[in-house]
């Protein structure tokens, strides 16, 4: 027996947390953007990213790899912490309770390019 009423009366049936129309929000006039959970976002132009790499290479030479790795590790740890919190809050279950495919989908949607959307 399927308890339909129960399914329908659930508070919400989640969709794509990372849908670009709702994920990125902000105040254009203040120049602030944040995601739907209220975490601040930053938009960096491609040119800046590229020049960061080049300058790093010029400044520290062969140590650039090490610096990038350290930064990446630090950033990734924070990113994952935020991703976990937001996704499990939205879908109402911890990542451990999620099916693999649901987790993968969220990760994929999170990284989907949204430029121009």
């Amino acid at each position: 027996m399927i308890a339909l009423e129960e399914l329908i009366n659930r508070e919400s049936i989640p969709g794509n947390f990372f849908a670009p129309e709702v994920y990125v929000q902000g105040d254009m006039e203040l120049g602030l953007i944040e995601n739907r959970a209220g975490a601040r976002l930053i938009a960096l132009p491609d040119t800046l990213l590229r020049s960061l790499y080049t300058s790093l290479e010029n400044e520290v030479g062969p140590a650039a790899d090490l610096v990038l790795r350290q930064c990446g590790r630090w950033w990734g740890k924070n990113f994952y912490r935020r991703f976990t919190t937001e996704v499990s809050e939205y879908y109402g279950k911890s990542l451990a309770e999620m099916e693999m495919v649901e987790f993968i989908q969220s990760l994929k949607e999170c990284w989907k390019p949204t430029v121009g959307a």
Binding site: M1, I2, A3, L4, E5, L7, I8, R10, I13, P14, G15, N16, F18, A19, P20, E21, V22, E99, V101, E102, I104, Q105, S106, E109, A117
Partner: protein, 163 residues
Amino acid sequence: MPSKFEDFLQAAEDHYLQPTEINDFKQQMSALEDRLALYEVLREQELTIFQVVVDQLQKQRFSNTQAELEKVLTHWIAVLRYSAMAMLLNQPELLESQLLGWLVDILHRDEFASLNRRISELLQQSLVSVLNAEQMTLIAPLLQKANTALVSEDRSRELAVLG
């Protein structure tokens, strides 16, 4: 994503709208009214619509567990909800970005194939009995999109649609 109404706002920047534009505006208004009416029907009849689906579904045997049945059904409830909103806003692309793109890998799996197909058929039948022909034509394209993404056997085609 500018709506039709925003187009009017922009067109009227420095002048009164012309009679043809006013007519167009009126048409947009009445189309919006129709869509809102349909949205309300879908919202209020949600239980009725899906009860028919569930009743028919339970007459059949599927290889899926009870939990899977409920899960798949819940996703289809979401499909209709998101379709209804996309229809109301007249922005069909919202269905893809907010639901289908994410849902396709979760739902379009071999073990759910016959269940998906059956729910989709039953939902269609159930809607036909609740909505009038005009309303069906408003919501049908969205359900068709969902079908192509979630039920269709030809996976390469649906990826092309979603991509």
